[in-house]
Symmetry: C2
Subunit: 190 residues, 2 copies
DNA sequence: CTCTTAAAAGGACAAATGTCCTCAAATGAT
DNA sequence: ATCATTTGAGGACATTTGTCCTTTTAAGAG
């Protein structure tokens, strides 16, 4: 809860009273390893702040393989943004890969926050802006870096993920097969 | 000008009077083929609605090659979003690849719009949301489709770009070399 | 601890892509 | 129109990655 307050304060000035008002709109949710926060083809009604844990975002590609697009770690928001914004069926699933604690708000309550609180008009846009920047960075990485560079970046930016995720999921995140990830690891360990 | 009004109306209800107020914040700008709208390493102060023409967004990657990340066509916004949002130096350049007409607003005026107009608080967030969705789609395409599929998608979604852009730029957009694009074209033409 | 099952590493060959070219077609200037 | 220069197509070979396996290591159940 305190983590969430710190996170919001880093985005926009928010008083303790405003935070108390805000927090009533959110509910706590815990996920076990393997449980889903969002399921593909269902409309995503919620957005969550990750207090603790790790989630994996993936979809089924046109070759019927699971493709991991993102590992979500603590102190950030997660949702299937497109589905949430447009309130249409999600093309992503989001699954906990370890025990995970969330602070969750649903779509209707977020709209209420936007309309009841001037500060949230701002915070809302700023969060979307930040997510845009993350997505742009992600796209730039996809474009710019080969699988080995992506692996080294993951190792640097989200080292815990390397321990917690399966080889299969890391490989699909890097856009290569298990075989190639195996070769990369061989090189990296010199 | 009328195109811009239609575009805004498709986003949020806006009256003719509100549009008249809005439009005073924008200025017209024309670019010749080869001229830049944004230059890498400079802070991007402007966002533009493309009335007519085509622009290419690119950056210099870590192998000192130009990588094309986007072709921007009419009836959409363009800017170096990260640079514009954070007012920090841009890692992208945006260049007209043919004669192009823009409606431009600078950062300070956009902030004024946000603060002076309730409707623009909304429009602002919605535009960022839409750009996020575009970027997410782009990232999904990068992840999910091979170069041939990307080529066919470009052919379908932005067919004029295939005519107007250089082979080199299309190849870097697809993430392959000229040689591979040549092979793809050979296959596509059966 | 041992057996069973699942997950990761790595060998051998095939397929795809890149590198380095040459040649043909298109474009511009005189 | 002619020549020079730029741009696209494609050949030959090297390198990278994928596919299909087998071997090795790790994890769970009894």
């Amino acid at each position: 809860m305190d983590k969430f307050k710190q996170f919001l304060k880093s985005i926009a000035p928010i008083t303790d009273d405003e935070f108390e008002d805000t927090i009533t709109f959110f509910t706590e949710q815990n996920l076990q390893k393997g449980e889903f926060f969002v399921k593909q083809d269902k409309v995503c009604r919620h957005i969550a702040f990750i207090v603790k844990g790790t989630l994996r975002t993936f979809y089924i590609n046109n070759k019927s393989e699971e493709t991991t697009s993102c590992f979500c770690t603590e102190n950030s928001f997660t949702t299937s943004y497109k589905s949430f914004i447009l309130q249409e069926p999600s093309n992503l699933s989001i699954q906990a890969i370890e025990e995970t604690e969330l602070l969750v708000i649903d779509y209707d309550n977020l709209q209420k926050l936007y309309h009841s609180s001037a500060i949230w008009q701002n915070i809302g846009r700023i969060i979307v802006e930040q997510e845009y920047i993350e997505m742009e960075k992600y796209a730039s990485v996809l474009n710019n870096e080969n699988a080995k560079e992506k692996y080294l970046r993951l190792l640097k930016e989200q080292p815990t993920v390397i321990q917690k995720a399966k080889v299969e999921d890391i490989a699909s995140y890097l856009g290569v097969t298990r075989r190639t990830l195996s070769r990369i690891r061989q090189e990296v360990s010199k």
